[in-house]
Symmetry: C3
Subunit: 276 residues, 3 copies
């Protein structure tokens, strides 16, 4: 039985998530349902893409991912199902797939056409679940939709490389649970442009000349404890998803603060890397 994952902006207080799970279990008593996130900022497609992109590859091939963000059907927001990277995605055709897997060619995309069978103001419950259960039972995409050649493209917030190849300009695309500010500059892009050159990273107010590979690398453990870098030190690192991130060592948004609050590094803010 395939896994069905849920990534939504429903929150976990309302009845929405429970109702979706109940409907899945009513159709497929042996379903295995996994929550990826229900805390997406309402209607935020970029956040959805960042989170799901970094989670879906950990699931077994054949997993079915329901995306319930900005999913109301209207004439400019159709519903699609697709197979991509050996995973299935069921989502609105609002650009979210282009943000989460721009470099991977989908194997097949269909525009879902079972809506004439249901009238609904809760399409995740009434349509996406039906499609997910159909796929989980081994059904083909063509049965629930018509094949379309491509999904809607959305290209905002891509990093740019200057013509002379001496700089990358990126943006903060995500603030994580620790308040770390994560940019859209990947380790891969950095290395392609860098070619081993020295560099300087600049944010609104601060510069960084070193990129760490884990948070505690800023600590010099050979020093006595009282002479070490303290909690609250800022650093740049490639995070576990391989994005350039500005972090505060042992940050906590509810107490000492994090990079987003202490350094004023918010969603969409610019981060520049210059190479010498």
């Amino acid at each position: 039985m395939s896994i069905i994952t849920l990534t939504t902006d429903f929150g976990t207080k309302d009845h929405f998530v429970g109702a979706v799970k109940g409907t899945i279990y009513s159709e497929l008593p042996d379903a295995k349902i996994v929550d990826i996130s229900h805390q997406i900022s309402p209607f935020n497609i970029a956040e959805t893409a960042y989170i799901l992109k970094n989670a879906y590859k950990s699931f077994p091939e054949g997993s079915i991912h329901i995306i319930g963000v900005d999913s109301e059907l209207n004439e400019e927001n159709k519903h699609i199902a697709l197979k991509l990277d050996n995973h299935y995605f069921i989502c609105p055709n609002n650009g979210v797939i282009s943000l989460l897997a721009s470099e991977i060619k989908p194997e097949k995309i269909v525009e879902i056409t079972i809506h004439n069978l249901v009238t609904t103001s809760f399409p995740v419950l009434d349509v996406f679940v039906k499609v997910a259960c159909h796929i989980a039972r081994g059904g083909t995409l063509e049965v629930i939709g018509k094949v379309i050649p491509e999904f809607k493209k959305m290209t905002e917030l891509q990093p740019t490389v200057t013509a002379d190849n001496n700089a990358i300009f990126g943006n903060i695309i995500y603030i994580d649970n620790y308040g770390n500010s994560i940019s859209n500059i990947t380790k891969k892009l950095f290395q392609e442009v860098s070619k081993g050159r020295a560099f300087e990273i600049t944010t609104n107010k601060y510069t960084f000349k070193k990129i760490y590979h884990k948070y505690s690398d800023i600590i010099d453990f050979s020093l006595p404890v009282n002479q070490r870098q303290k909690d609250g030190s800022k650093l740049a690192l490639f995070n576990s998803a391989n994005y350039l991130e500005i972090a505060i060592y042992k940050s906590n948004l509810d107490t000492v603060g994090g990079a987003t609050s202490l350094l004023g590094l918010h969603y969409r803010d610019v981060i520049a890397v210059k190479f010498f």
Copy 2:
């Protein structure tokens, strides 16, 4: 194996939810447990009823619903288990069932009597779980309680219809994850009173003369994008649970705000519908 759902005000940080699940798995290794909500406002029975009413019907018949809100046993707050609408509910006898299923006659109600076997200050863990596992194993309600004729009634926040049938007065009973303000006026009641007449909905400061059936119906897609209604427009609609709701298009409580914050429409506020 029946599904056991959990609806509580425990939050998800403390050990309570984990302990309850561990106890269920210790008794029933193959249990299927589904969280409906743990974010109920502490002791808020009306919220509990709204959430569970809109979730439980999506689950298969025979599902067992544990309600852990205001569940401390005392001489005025007994524990009950009941079969209603082909679902089982285990909860305090504090009126929550009358709010979530006032119109459905329960098949059987028992007052739970296994407390003399346990001394507890955590009845959801020590009593409700035992009862749920008993039911999941096919046990009857009479074994764990004594039959009683009815549950406690609570009738606050019901909408009223004027004697001349020309108006409905309701209240906001729930604020959802998007900040939408949801009233206790159902589509069914509205249609019974309306009989197709023109109407005007009045809240504290605003009036609405149209009720939409989905959020994006306020957008006129035939217009060029820059001449359309913008995100942030207010509207009245029947939501997916069929309640009259005042909403803000693409609202977000953390950024632009929602109906509750922008329109000042809070829990218990009055909403009136007048028919002409």
Copy 3:
């Protein structure tokens, strides 16, 4: 199949929890995963210990508990796996085990040595999951680590008893979902020192001469409703985890407040019990 539980400070918005679950299911399709908490305050080992200590015993023996708090590997923070109280724990060797089970002798402790097989900045995903799946398949600890004689001890925030045995000084160690302030004084310690004597509990501003066993015990149900103690009354009680707790009857941090906000009783604050 053993249960694998997760206790982390990852939050539930980011991709971390989803990625960990996907990885477990990829290795063990029949795994049973239970979230204990992902809302631990970042890097807070004392909170982690309080929550897991009060949850793990409810799970069946043989359950495997992954602790993902402050888990980055460095030369002063190694990773360990241990069997203790017939449960398995996989965690950093940062003192968390000494706080959650100081009185129980572990059956076996190993320092995890499979890191040379993986380079990682997300050890919960890349290391802890591998170890958990190994144990769940019946593997022994020696295969994934080298036996060590003891885990790191951390002893902060222990209650002290005065030399004359006439007082206990404790601290608030946890604030729960209702805003109750929970001390590190257990019922067991209280009874050992008390030997039935009269007592007075003092916090920053208030004194309590009675300890209740459940919240609603402060209500005298023989009185008419309008003459009773009101919601918002303060009380001391032994909570369901058997710790001395200062509470507000029917508290709600978002509305009326709780003990932590109304009485100003915060993490680490002192609470004294004097016996006469």
